[in-house]
Symmetry: C2
Subunit: 115 residues, 2 copies
């Protein structure tokens, strides 16, 4: 595997925006309206959620369904491509949960003299 | 798993810099001198490699060994913490290898009218 290529850069760029990973992950159980996503995620503004959903849609990871009901209903759903990214996102998230404290302790060690 | 927290942000930030992932991955087989890393990675300048190694060291993922030989020798090695990140990095890299083309095709679909 050559990571220093365009394909890898694309993937790490996608995940480098934490909101992309957060919103992708919050869609893992099925289609969701934006309002419910906001509730489930917590701490995300309507503006940031909208931008993130558009970005995920642009990259083919999410599809938008608009239903002509009264009132109109909009839902977002992972595409097959989006679902395929759940594994890597979960792996990074689990690593963070288990090891982020160690990283922060390491950072603290340099507080007087960063390398 | 709550991804919208500080721990997850830290991990996705780390991987959001693709060079972090690339250099970490290139150390997976053992300690390496900077010159050999540059050869193996390809396309990375001395400056960027040095900055990346310092950043990985700062975050406790890499350790620097300086040997008082003539000429002096410096090697970098993954810490246990750094090794623990190889799995997630590999998962993202494999996903990229398998699916990045699909993402690029999805992006092309919007070339006339981005969402």
């Amino acid at each position: 595997m050559f990571l220093a290529d365009c394909q890898a850069r694309l993937a790490f760029d996608l995940l480098g925006n934490t909101w992309n990973a957060v919103v992708l992950w919050s869609l893992r159980h099925g289609p969701r309206r934006p309002g419910r996503l906001r509730e489930e995620i917590g701490g995300i503004s309507t503006k940031v959620l909208t931008e993130t959903l558009r970005r995920l849609e642009y990259n083919g990871l999410v599809v938008r369904h608009a239903y002509a009901e009264a009132p109109p209903r909009v839902e977002y759903e992972l595409t097959e491509l989006g679902r395929s990214l759940l594994g890597p996102v979960g792996a990074v998230g689990e690593w963070a949960f288990a090891h982020a404290d160690e990283v922060m302790r390491a950072q603290d060690r340099w507080s007087d003299a960063p390398p």
